[in-house]
């Protein structure tokens, strides 16, 4: 099976809650370009008002999926539904979808007001109503008074607001966001994310957000679909994706992870005990169900799930501090632990006490301090 659904039921957008009609549904959608498969049998249900993020590296198929929903591309196989209606063959201009492009694509020859009014004019709405709704949309994105400007007279952030207003003013069934923050500088990006999320929640518009930035994905989404090589690897709430990644790719793409070598020593129902050096950890058995006792596994441990203890402490791994990097609010320690990890182990220690207590060259003990440890069969990314 290519796709795993999330395991929490606490999430209000949990997949499988079939009582509500999904706002967007993809049933086994495949898209090929020439000989290569850009999207392989994507199955996806997005609930009304949900903020769904498609996360993955470039070329993973997330933009292809977005273009298929928008109607700019035609699926080779499978069906797409929007609000329950089959739209696989519906041309883009009849799908009632709002899009914000990476470069915003504001019409350069039209004023801000005419940009926003464009989608209303195509719908044949009368002039007074158009004027009213344009004003409303401008107020929503805090750009009242900018109606007569041309796009080139606006800053990047303002252009993005106009693009958002233009997409939202038509009351779209789905809002598609194609890497909308990548052209903004870092400070502006943060505030626009907060604002966009707020507007999205306020209007309750179903949103599909495409990004390669895991930070954006984790902070904004109701659920995330992690994609790689044309396949959806996991669909789950952000904390589930982070804490219980479904496979090696998800574990290493979302957040940082140290890969430690372990060995299965025991199995008890849903859980397994894995030994890393002298340390034993208890973790979920599902990802390593195919392996038997005594087999080697790769254990994924987040940097913040390791703590430094005295050297020689019981139930701790041993390593040598190679470098320390001061990060302001925390310290990154890079630790050599031959035999346990092929690469240097990254440990994220809060506070700055570590700067003096763990200089380079010192031997330390490492405690694994979390239940959110996962193991996968060894090898390269699946």
């Amino acid at each position: 099976m290519l796709m795993r659904t999330d395991r929490t039921t606490a999430n209000r957008f949990a997949a499988g809650s079939d009582k509500v009609r999904p706002a967007v549904q993809l049933d086994g959608v495949t898209k090929r370009f020439g000989g290569s498969v850009a999207l392989h049998e994507a199955w996806l249900k997005i609930q009304p008002s949900e903020f769904m993020t498609l996360l993955g590296p470039s070329g993973c198929g997330k933009t292809t999926l977005l273009n298929l929903v928008a109607g700019f591309l035609e699926a080779d196989n499978g069906e797409i539904f929007i609000e329950g209606a089959l739209v696989t063959e519906t041309p883009a201009h009849m799908r009632e979808i709002g899009i914000v492009f990476q470069n915003y694509a504001l019409f350069p020859h039209m004023s801000v007001a005419n940009n926003i009014a464009y989608g209303l004019k195509t719908r044949g709405i009368d002039k007074r109503e158009i004027g009213r709704r344009v004003e409303e949309a401008l107020a929503l994105v805090k750009l009242s008074g900018f109606a007569d400007r041309k796009p080139r007279q606006l800053s990047g952030g303002q252009q993005q607001r106009v693009a958002l207003a233009r997409a939202l003013v038509i009351k779209p069934k789905v809002l598609l966001l194609d890497e909308p923050f990548s052209a903004l500088d870092k400070n502006l990006r943060g505030s626009m994310q907060v604002e966009l999320k707020q507007i999205q929640r306020e209007l309750g518009v179903t949103t599909i957000f495409v990004t390669h930035d895991q930070g954006e994905a984790l902070s904004m989404s109701d659920r995330i679909a992690v994609m790689s090589a044309g396949r959806i690897r996991q669909i789950a709430a952000p904390d589930d994706i982070y804490r219980r990644p479904a496979d090696r790719f998800v574990a290493s793409f979302v957040g940082d992870a140290n890969i430690l070598s372990g060995r299965i020593v025991e199995r008890q129902g849903d859980s397994a005990i894995v030994a890393i050096g002298d340390v034993r950890v208890n973790l979920a058995a599902a990802p390593i169900a195919a392996l038997s006792i005594g087999d080697a596994v790769d254990v994924f441990v987040r940097p913040e799930h390791l703590t430094v203890t005295a050297q020689g402490a019981s139930n701790a791994l041993r390593g040598t501090v190679a470098t320390q990097v001061f990060q302001g609010d925390h310290v990154d320690l890079y630790i050599d632990a031959p035999g346990i990890a092929a690469e240097r182990i990254l440990l994220r220690a809060p506070g700055i006490a570590m700067l003096s207590s763990c200089p380079a060259g010192v031997e330390v003990g490492l405690k694994i301090d979390s239940d959110d440890i996962v193991a996968f069969p060894p090898g390269a990314a699946p």
């Binding site: 883009a92 201009h93 709002g98 492009f101 019409f107 350069p108 020859h109 195509t122 041309k150």
Partner: protein
């Protein structure tokens, strides 16, 4: 330290050409204010008589006719070249793209005289077009196409087509496809997208192509001379007749100067008229 050490050397060929051009223009100017001595290639004293003579209806008519011819040619070239340029830029088929390129650009390499002779074969009373139409039963007698303004325009359109296609294609290829996608997502069908987005945004290319076609046609000589056969009178054919049949170099020179001034004026006017459109397209 000069930051562009080779600039002087690289500019020198252009400088040489410019010097030659300016010298020639000065010579033409010099001729234009000299008196014509019938029966002699030498010129007489300084006079403004040549310019005064141009006010005669015969010459005024040639000017008016030329402007009209240029305008018609530019309009038809634009109408024919736009779809070609659009298809050239937008097609996904590399075969179609090559085909359009070959069809629209090869005329550039044929030379005006060869192209014009081909058109004479096509347009003649016993030419390809008349023969075809009669064989198909659409005509009873051949239609006069040679030696008419219509025939001249048809051939001139063919001459100016390549440059128009290239300029329009350049403008169209600079239009971000996301503009059209955005319009599409906002509910606009193909026709509305073309008239509200694509056409206005390609306006700079239209203005540039139109002015260029106009200027080219204004100075065209072989086509109006051969296809018009003396019955379609333009500024350039008139200059030829005056210069090389009557050997009235001074009058030919003054006609050339006025022709140059007029074509510059018309192009400036076109630019002026088009600038609101261009500003609308937002790429000035």
């Amino acid at each position: 330290m000069n930051k562009r050490p080779f600039l002087g050397w690289f500019v020198s060929p252009a400088g040489l050409v410019a010097v030659g051009l300016i010298a020639a223009l000065l010579a033409v100017f010099q001729y234009s204010v000299r008196a014509y001595v019938p029966g002699s290639l030498d010129v007489g004293d300084f006079t403004l008589q040549n310019f005064a003579a141009m006010l005669r209806p015969l010459y005024a008519f040639a000017f008016g006719n030329t402007v009209l011819l240029c305008f018609e040619t530019a309009v038809f070239t634009l109408l024919l070249a736009y779809p070609l340029a659009y298809a050239l830029v937008r097609t996904n088929s590399s075969a179609l793209r090559s085909f359009i390129l070959i069809v629209s650009v090869t005329p550039l390499f044929l030379g005006e005289v060869v192209r014009t002779y081909s058109w004479m074969i096509v347009l003649g009373n016993n030419g390809f077009l008349n023969t075809l139409l009669i064989k198909l039963g659409l005509l009873e007698r051949p239609v006069q196409m040679m030696f008419t303004a219509g025939g001249v325009v048809a051939a001139l359109v063919h001459v100016t087509m390549p440059i128009m296609v290239i300029m329009l294609a350049a403008a169209l290829s600079h239009i971000d496809r996301n503009y059209e996608k955005a319009a599409e997502s906002l509910g606009a069908g193909p026709v509305r997208i073309f008239f509200t987005i694509t056409l206005p945004l390609s306006m700079p290319g239209i203005v540039a192509g139109f002015s260029t076609a106009f200027a080219w046609t204004f100075s065209a000589f072989a086509t109006p001379q051969l296809i018009g056969g003396g019955r379609v009178s333009t500024v350039s054919t008139l200059i030829y007749q005056l210069g090389f049949s009557s050997f009235n170099f001074p009058f030919a020179a003054s006609l050339s100067l006025i022709g140059l001034a007029l074509s510059l004026a018309v192009i400036a006017l076109l630019k002026k008229a088009a600038s609101p459109l261009e500003r609308m397209a937002g790429s000035t």
